[in-house]
Symmetry: C2
Subunit: 355 residues, 2 copies
DNA sequence: CTGTTAGCGCATTCAG
DNA sequence: CTGAATGCGCTAACAG
């Protein structure tokens, strides 16, 4: 069904139909004829052909690393909120944490086309920079800092530092004395950290650097051998935590770069406590040997995952303004789409410790 | 950058460039010239203009009710798997559980256009049927039965029934004797159910009907007053469970229509046990009055959520082949897209109790 | 207010 | 093997 056919059936010109569709001048009489024909045929104008002409789709594309994530869904909720309020629709493309797919989908959106793109960033490779520099459509990056596009990111360093301080304080509280560090609930022990790839500057670098700084400022330290790297999945966090628990017997806190990883660590603790029954006084050496009582190991995360909070009562974590970043990101994007705003913007959002 | 400009720069015709791009006959000499120019300019053909001609985008659109769901992400993972293997890309549209938005996005995809659509269904309204009947592009529905499109759904009735039987058995085990039903861990008590809207035939109707049937076949029953209806969210499950716990003191099991709702119920139990300290022998009537010991209330779900399993150790639930349904759905869709397969298909997938 | 015309960027005839 | 010409469905400019 094309506009031309509708025009013939209604006995008018295709331009008249176009005007009818787009609110141009048209007599009531013809308006009625056209309405009737469209009604009967169920005609719907081709969005693509329209776009070919108008270069305007009222559509924005959002590239996300994965679909099943509370933090990401909070960002997209924010985006969707302002988009729908301003008459835009949103299409998502999930890249499954593969940076190369990110490029593919960015290009797809670029010449599909959409009016604008928001990229929820993980790693910014040279390819990314290249794309951002000469993209035909405006892009805003959420979650990572970049100078090649408008971006809006979170204070990961600050959040890491706050968490580091908190953990250091916990450690100090728990391990007050030296040899007899086995008080109920708390015990002397060290901090462990499960991070992510350093290619992710926000989560992999800033957050971890901040954590280290926070620990240090609290008089603690992240020792070598107490660090693991995981993917952004629960399974990966599970493996990393299990590895940690198997190798080091004096861990008091496992801090994880995300709440999802933390969930995996909690799972590992559960599994560990089942297989490894406490056998405290079996050894009779001169020094008390640390036997890991996994129920005394605490886990911390980042992201303030509500699901985790609900079913576990909550772990120490950090709340980021994910929804806000979505909202601001979308607003930024619409500013350049609709008003051609040219001056670049970098926006850093704060956080809130939750413990 | 258009194909015409490339042609000029390379000193050939636009048709030659088109052939170069699409693997038509072209001399090596011109091939080289064109390659060079494209390289330099970073030219990318406009997908939309191509589609306008070819009616083929190698793209499928997927309409989902929400983004942050493990079950849905498993379906989309299945879809993506076969799509990418066969050279297609996938775009997602999230409707936020609003059926009317579903229609909007279906129409968007229809004339955007994509080559095919998969709808992860919740409710099938008259509007939906109308769309399915005269959609220009093939649609397959996943998760709901419909006769207006190829569909692939799960045995929700069977799953509900299996869960019902399981719960009935648990109930029988827990409340063996009559007056002294207070054994450690288990106690006499009734089954409660938190369902969802009846407009969702699969989850709201089939699953619940099956559950009732299963209970009955196990000698138990779902009494009026022990049923609540929730949204597909944790918060909603939380409220419903709290309401249930406040009103009925003899609940032994809360069965929930989804694991997400179950997570909310678990949260409610946690909250309830904090505020409501057990005060068993305060009453001295002739009959022992039930005082809800929330730690004895068990929660069941549907969906086999891995996150929930990880951090809680797992609740009784049902595993559906979500990824499989995604795979089969995508295959079905490609069959009609590429081979014009005409005969309609309805596929029902099984399940597995997890307890 | 209306119809005619000319493209948007590309792929596909059809003559060379 | 190649280029010129045509049209996909639509809107924007223009002349009625």
């Amino acid at each position: 069904m094309t506009i031309k056919e509708i025009a013939q059936l209604a006995g008018v010109s295709s331009a008249a139909v176009s005007r009818y569709l787009n609110g141009g001048y048209i007599s009531d009489e013809k308006k009625e004829q056209i309405r009737k024909v469209i009604e009967e045929t169920g005609y719907q104008p081709s969005a693509q052909a329209r776009m070919l002409r108008t270069k305007r789709a009222c559509l924005v594309g959002v590239v996300v690393p994965k679909i099943n994530s509370e933090s990401i869904s909070r960002v997209t909720a924010g985006i969707e909120e302002v988009l729908s309020r301003r008459g835009y629709q949103m299409l998502l493309a999930s890249t499954d944490n593969e940076p190369e797919k990110e490029i593919t989908y960015l290009k797809l959106f670029e010449n599909y086309p959409v009016d604008g793109i928001v990229l929820i960033g993980t790693v910014i490779t040279a390819e990314h920079r290249k794309f951002l520099k000469n993209s035909k459509v405006p892009v805003v990056v959420v979650g990572q800092y970049t100078k090649y596009a408008n971006c809006i990111y979170h204070d990961d360093y600050g959040a890491g530092k706050a968490m580091g301080k908190y953990v250091a304080a916990e450690l100090a509280r728990g391990g007050g004395s030296d040899e007899s560090g086995n008080r109920a609930g708390h015990r002397a022990g060290k901090a462990a950290y499960i991070g992510v790839t350093k290619e992710d500057k926000a989560v992999g670098v800033s957050r971890e650097d901040g954590f280290r700084a926070g620990l240090k400022s609290g008089g603690a330290e992240l020792e070598e051998g107490y660090i693991r790297q995981a993917e952004f999945t629960m399974e990966s966090g599970y493996q990393a935590a299990l590895d940690l628990l198997g190798e080091k017997q004096d861990i008091a806190v496992i801090s994880c770069a995300t709440d999802t990883i933390a969930a995996g660590a909690i799972e590992a603790l559960l599994a560990y406590s089942k297989n490894r029954v406490p056998q405290a006084a079996k050894d009779s050496g001169t020094r008390m040997q640390y036997i890991l009582d996994s129920s005394a190991v605490r886990v911390t995360g980042f992201g303030d995952n509500q699901f985790l909070k609900a079913v576990t009562g909550g772990i120490p974590t950090v709340h980021f303004g994910y929804k806000t970043s979505g909202i601001r990101g979308a607003e930024l994007l619409l500013d350049v789409i609709e008003r051609g705003e040219k001056i670049p913007v970098e926006m850093k959002l704060g956080f809130r410790m939750v413990c």
